[in-house]
Symmetry: C2
Subunit: 403 residues, 2 copies
């Protein structure tokens, strides 16, 4: 069986007209002789409205009942999609997690799919039916409704693609795909035709909010091809696949940048085990999200400097924690508001020498000062002044032939 | 175990504030050492909004998916009620039909509960938990979600009371109980403290829209005491129970009246078997609701007159059918717009002679002409001019000491 999993996000099923449009898309796959498994989110706005109600009931609303509450949104959306397919005489029905079942473990609100029972759905697909499966939900061993924490309906789609050995998983959303850089910041941003899981993971965690990193990682582990595309325009999207499927690699696939970052430097911290932990523990406890962390080797073997970034709105809180905690020892504390992290991402850099140099030279040519550098196998990140962000983006986009 | 079933209708859980109030009511029963089973409808407006969506998807929306769609409303309401009880540290959880399970048979949209599995709920009650069970829904043998057609959540509540041998079933709604006559039409209408199933059935089918007749009949067959009361004011409601529980019967319990009726008389129809059927078959086929039917014995043994009432808006259609159908033979057709059926109801009339006379005399004293008479064991109905309705109501209300 040639199986495809089609996942529709909340905006794709946000109105009755959009649901009708989604059904047109489903029918087009059916015409191409695919066995189609559909996964749907709740209509956009529904989940938030339900969450809002739960907050009015209790500022500490039960996790178990939260899952029962919000999963009702997917139930409604799935029945409407199935109803529309039936309207055209196609065989279809909605499937709730408990009817399949989709088994999860872990805590409520944050469960993970561990098993999807294949038999009923396979039988249904063989009979020509189009199952409309509610995303985001599962049941646990106590037969209680659970919801998938991170990744939500995307995670459901990837796991369905895995358990039913789908040819691919198509994520329909409100953007046309993944771009070389944020198209809202730079109008020469281009849609990427194909990208590796690894690059996408770097892009995702750097702010390309197309998919949650956890779902990309699930797809990578299970070698599932993902196509991200828009449900509103009929255009090829972005294929996320394994590296070996990508014939012609560009050196750099994408460039990302951050906003509203602040740089914190602790000058003269002791260079001994446990120091970094003693600094980040109280920050983590206070839910301060620490990004780029850089620590250089110490020149004298006794002291070193530690730099990291936080969101600017958390700078005051960070300062307070660092200054009030007696466990944290340093000589001086430096703060810099208004910095931005620019990253270039691409598996191509592994086999191409000189990428780092080209990046630094490009920025130097534009008289942009690099404050901090951090690299991984497929990513180079630098910290620059925030006001230089767009200049840097443009120059790098051109240099690495992404225009 | 002293079990009580509390059922809350859509208006009783219509807003977050109202749900909070419902939880106060539930806690008051808990304090009285009851084991409480709660049944809830969807928040008012939710079901209609979902049905509206289904109509936009297809004018012929699938019955199976309709059940999936609308039952999501009860799911949300139940989780909110349970969440509020948990907020106060009480043990509670929502139960969907499939989790219990509540088994139904019959068609989708119009199923009937045939079995409720007791074990899980009994165990939960014994552990001190308050189950919040979604009304209106069940599952069938194919594990598909069904909804209870007539009676809806009331029917769920009555069946739960039956299977769990509850002491009583309290129907919380937006009215304070059952009245001697429609309080909107007559301001001296009094709330009835206690009424028999049989009287309530007559009241219900005559327009006291507090409960669906089918649910009252279920309660009667299973000898379940029902209390109908308001969730908004803390006042005693109306107890619906078996006759032997009612110590002091008034002769008449209530008076009802209809609006917008028209009288149709077929003069000179043949007095032989099958004639009435030949008249009512085409009307029923065309979904015309025929009410009060009266046929007198024929004076000459050959011909008789047949009178019945229909809603005035269906008079034109009725006329057309009667005149166009050649199987229906009569000498003359008479129509009367603007009639009203006044009925007095009470089990007391069985043992009290002269009730019929008192009714007729009362109307005669007010110079109200009686056009047609029809009686049952516990009900006397007469047809009068619609303009005399309120005069008749008032006079009878006084005569039978209901003021």
């Amino acid at each position: 069986m040639k199986i495809v999993v089609l996942k529709f996000g909340g905006t794709s099923v946000g109105t009755i007209e959009k649901i009708k449009n989604v059904v047109k898309i489903i029918r087009s796959y059916k015409k191409k002789k695919y066995r189609v498994i559909v996964v749907s989110s709740a209509m956009s706005g529904v989940t938030n409205s339900l969450i809002n109600k739960s907050k009015q009931i209790s500022e500490n609303f039960s996790d178990e009942e939260y899952d029962v509450l919000v999963s009702s949104g997917e139930q409604a959306a799935c029945s409407l999609i199935a109803g529309r397919l039936l309207h055209f005489g196609l065989k279809s029905r909605s499937w709730m997690a408990w009817q399949i079942p989709i088994l999860t473990n872990g805590k409520h609100k944050n469960s993970r799919i561990i098993k999807i029972n294949r038999s009923k759905i396979i039988k249904y697909l063989k009979s020509g039916g189009i199952p409309i499966i509610s995303g985001f939900q599962g049941i646990n061993k106590y037969l209680r409704i659970t919801t998938i924490g991170r990744g939500g309906s995307d995670a459901s789609a990837i796991m369905l693609a895995k358990f039913f050995q789908a040819e691919k998983c198509v994520i329909y959303t409100d953007v046309e795909g993944v771009y070389t850089t944020d198209p809202n910041k730079f109008d020469k941003a281009k849609k990427i035709k194909v990208i590796s899981y690894e690059e996408m993971l770097e892009m995702a965690s750097l702010g390309a909010k197309v998919m949650q990193p956890v779902s990309i990682q699930d797809a990578r582990l299970n070698r599932i091809d993902i196509e991200v595309k828009s449900s509103f325009v009929n255009k090829t999207g972005t294929l996320i696949t394994k590296r070996s499927n990508i014939k012609k690699n560009k050196v750099i696939t994408g460039i990302s940048s951050t906003q509203n970052d602040s740089k914190v430097t602790l000058v003269g911290v002791k260079d001994k085990p446990g120091v970094a932990a003693s600094i980040f523990k109280p920050l983590s406890k206070n839910l301060i999200n620490v990004d780029m962390v850089v620590q250089n080797i110490s020149a004298n073997g006794k002291e070193t400097d530690l730099t990291f970034t936080v969101k600017s709105e958390e700078l005051v809180k960070t300062k307070k924690i660092l200054l009030s905690n007696r466990q944290i020892k340093f000589r001086r504390l430096l703060f810099n508001k208004g910095v931005s992290k620019i990253s270039i991402i691409g598996v191509g850099m592994i086999s191409t020498p000189g990428v780092t140099f080209r990046m630094f030279q490009t920025l130097a040519n534009k008289k942009i000062n690099i404050q901090v550098i951090s690299t991984s196998e497929i990513k180079i990140s630098v910290l620059i002044k925030e006001k230089d962000t767009s200049k840097a983006l443009m120059a790098l986009h051109k240099e690495f032939e992404l225009d």
